[in-house]
Amino acid sequence: MKSDLPAPHLETCILSRPELLAPVRAMLEELAARIGFDETACGHLALAIDEALTNIIRHGYNNNPDQHIWISAWELSDPTGLRIQIDDLAPQVEVSQLKGRDLDDIRPGGLGVHLIHSLMDLVQFSKRPGGGMRLIVEKYQPAKITSPL
């Protein structure tokens, strides 16, 4: 899936099947760990991506298992972190509709977008010019405190 960014450090395409969520989580968690994220941050990143993919499979592709989802990841240097882009070819929706439910309204569903916003430092939904939707998320590592001595 083409992008204006430099070539990603990792790029993959999966079919829209729930059984592929676990391997994607494992892959991104391992990438985040190797970049230097701690265990909690790796888990948060994996959960945010899982929620994004779940939403695409369920709502974007209406549980059709044979559609494509493209996942690209870039290591960021300033600030240090990870940028992940998820592209699909699902029917486009208004970005303003992509918001989580009120957490006080306890009911099944509607938690995914809320979790993505809670877990990531940057969340950007957009309509892809060629059709489909794009989600860009970024997670940064906490700044290292260096001793003045």
């Binding site: 729930p18 059984e19 969520l21 676990a22 989580r25 909690t40 888990g43 948060h44 994996a46 959960l47 899982d50 929620e51 779940t54 499979i57 369920r58 957490l103 006080d104 306890i106 009911r107 099944p108 569903g109 938690l111 995914g112 809320h114 979790l115 809670s118 877990l119």
Partner: protein, 115 residues
């Protein structure tokens, strides 16, 4: 059912109900299997239903939704519904979703039997 969507759930009979202990990640692929086990246990309208998550290292919003569905059924049928043994990772998802404010969540199996 493939291994990716299969979820092993131990079911233990208690004096006043059932304890369910799922094994493995509960995500979009496996939450239907989790829901089926919960539904089966709730069919008997026990006085108590305990879900022990000691062997669940990961749960996403699909797993949470399944628990919320069970909560709604147990409330309607006046069944005590208790969740216990959350890993740090699963607990953080509960907290982010504010589920700890509506579900009875306890630290361990023993507390779940007394709650």
């Amino acid at each position: 059912m493939s291994r990716a969507t299969e979820l092993i759930v131990d079911i233990e009979t208690l004096t006043d109900g059932f304890l369910l202990r799922p094994h493995g990640d509960v995500d979009m692929a496996r939450s239907p299997a989790f829901r089926a086990k919960l539904t089966e246990a709730l069919k008997n309208v026990p006085a108590r239903l305990v879900v022990d998550l000691a062997l669940v290292p990961y749960m996403d919003s699909c797993g949470l939704a399944t628990l919320i569905e069970a909560l709604q059924i147990t409330r309607a049928q006046k069944i005590k519904f208790i969740v216990c043994n959350l890993s740090a990772r699963v607990r953080s998802v509960f907290e982010l979703s504010r589920l700890t404010t509506v579900l009875t969540v306890v630290d361990n199996h023993e507390q779940a039997l007394l709650a």
